[in-house]
């Protein structure tokens, strides 16, 4: 007996000037470090507004040390020239680390400025299934040979059913591949992780979406991991339980704070348990590194 044909798993290749990171099913999970972002940080915002980007250095260091594979860069400060800030931040980050970047903005001009400044193959965060957004963002993805995170929601709502999310995922992949000549491997779907505190039935919907996106399209997926635990106590414990379950359902990367060892360790353990870490070499190496540090 044979089940439905599974789509071939796809690999998303990101590159800095000197390092390549591959996101893929069956590979080690990709941690996209998220804290290079001024949202909700008053002091950082003030600094950026006055043109002082120095705090970025500390944030980059913390994410790299925490084990990030890719760095998400967001410069969304209201009442500023976000394009200029993002361009400068991208140039600065390239000098600080060789990790590839995820250029994060909902301002199209800022995305373009960031992409133009980046020497490598970046991940763009993000596009939705709205026609207007697709028409604005996808040409940039093609022009700068980048990959893109896509959210399966349209103008009306965030769909609460997996079916609708699958339809919108199909639409995004169709438009990107057929109209813009973007490889499906360069589309990373965000299956929309919703806060468990707002509705305890939503995570299973997201997990179902992940399984079906993997099986039907084979594309990679990412999500804002900290969203899930919003408004709940013991958030890191929830994150550490959520990601391994999501990884089993097909999630291949997450945008998360790499400074949370409890969650990072849970992901590394899941990599081993799901056979994404052959012979447990990464798991053992991490243990040795900790031992060496303790001496």
């Amino acid at each position: 007996m044979s089940g439905p044909v599974r789509a071939t798993p796809k690999e998303t290749v990101l590159r800095s000037a000197s390092r390549e990171v591959v996101i893929g099913h069956g590979r080690r999970f990709c941690l996209i470090g998220e804290r290079i972002n001024p949202t909700g940080r008053r002091i950082f915002q003030e600094q950026l507004r006055s043109g002082d980007l120095s705090a970025i250095e500390r944030d980059v260091k913390a994410q790299v040390e925490g084990g990030a594979d890719v760095l998400d860069i967001n410069m969304g400060v209201p009442l500023t020239d976000e394009a200029d800030l993002l361009e400068r931040a991208i140039r600065m980050v390239q000098g600080l680390t060789d990790l590839p970047v995820c250029i994060d903005s909902s301002v199209v001009e800022a995305l373009e400025a960031g992409l133009a400044a980046y020497e490598g193959r970046a991940l763009v965060n993000s596009v939705t299934a709205e026609d207007e957004r697709l028409a604005q963002v996808l040409p940039l993805v093609k022009k700068y040979d980048a990959a893109v995170i896509a959210l399966p929601n349209d103008a009306d709502e965030i769909p609460m059913e997996a079916d609708k999310r699958l339809v919108l995922t199909g639409k995004i992949i169709d438009v990107a591949t057929k109209e813009y000549g973007i490889d499906a491997a360069d589309i990373v779907i965000d299956p929309l992780a919703m806060p468990i505190g707002a509705d305890t039935s939503m995570v299973t919907t997201t997990l179902e979406t992940m399984q079906r996106v993997r099986d039907e399209f084979g594309v990679n997926m990412t999500c804002g991991a900290s969203n899930v635990s919003f408004g709940m106590p013991a958030r890191h414990t929830l994150g550490a339980a959520y990601l391994p379950i999501a990884m089993y359902a097909g999630l291949t990367s997450a945008i998360m704070d790499a400074r949370t060892p409890q969650i990072v360790d849970a992901v590394k353990a899941a990599d081993l348990l799901l056979n994404h870490d052959e012979w447990g070499m990464a798991w053992i190496a991490a243990h040795r590194a900790r031992q060496a540090e303790a001496v």
């Binding site: 301002v107 929601n153 103008a155 505190g197 707002a198």
Partner: protein, 222 residues
């Protein structure tokens, strides 16, 4: 049969723990006993929601607890609101609330709504993705004291200005207090778009809303 005191205590306790079916039952029971709707509202439901808000602010209560307490109160209010209107009991104020066009985030807004209802405001929630014309229509229909625009994204915050322009154009700017809020919003941004008030969180919103109402009422003698 319970006594009115027991009903009030029950309404308070069961709203606090978010037991919506029990709160609804007690509301009906209270009405059958001939209790005043405003007594149930002001002596039980509002104090209970205030306590919920205080616990949330202290970090003792979490988002789901806020949401189920709000739901419990909303169930009772569906029964009580028409009766309160009949008896001409004045609400603290009326608040039209919505997440701006292009934005689908609603948890923060919903928490603010709960706190406002808990403080005695009548809240008309327009939901998410609310276009300027929809805000205008709701203001024309409900004549609220305050309208609240919520945005979670730096890209959707400019809709505040679009909404303000729509208010001006409809000649409604001076008839309603405008409050704005949401994760990326700051006082500075609120000032830049010409809003009357901003608050950083749900309980600050309630305080600010009350203060703005008082200012407005002091200026315009009834």
């Amino acid at each position: 049969m319970s006594t009115p005191e027991e009903i009030l205590q029950g309404l308070y306790d069961d709203t606090l723990v978010g037991n919506a079916p029990r709160v609804l039952e007690l509301t009906h029971e209270g009405l059958e006993l001939g209790m005043e709707p405003q007594s149930m509202l002001f002596d039980a439901l509002i104090p209970s929601l205030e306590e919920v808000g205080a616990r949330f602010e202290r970090g003792d209560f979490f988002v789901p607890e806020m949401l189920i307490a709000g739901r419990a109160m909303a169930g009772a209010m569906e029964v009580l609101r028409p009766l309160l209107a009949e008896t001409g009991v004045e609400t603290v104020g009326t608040f039209v609330m919505g997440t701006v066009k292009g934005d689908v985030h609603d948890i923060g807004k919903n928490l603010v709504n709960i706190m406002l209802e808990g403080a005695g405001f009548e809240v008309i929630d327009l939901g998410v993705q609310v276009a300027p014309e929809k805000f205008i229509a709701a203001i024309e229909e409900h004549h609220p004291d305050i309208v609240g625009f919520s945005a979670f994204l730096t890209t959707t915050m400019p809709m505040f200005k679009a909404n303000m322009n729509a208010l001006e154009k409809a000649g409604l700017r001076d008839s309603v207090i405008v409050m704005v809020g949401g994760a990326p919003v700051t006082q500075e941004y609120a000032d830049a778009v010409g809003a009357d008030g901003y608050a950083a969180d749900a309980s600050a919103t309630v305080k600010r809303a009350k203060a703005l109402l008082q200012e407005r009422r002091a200026k315009v003698p009834a």
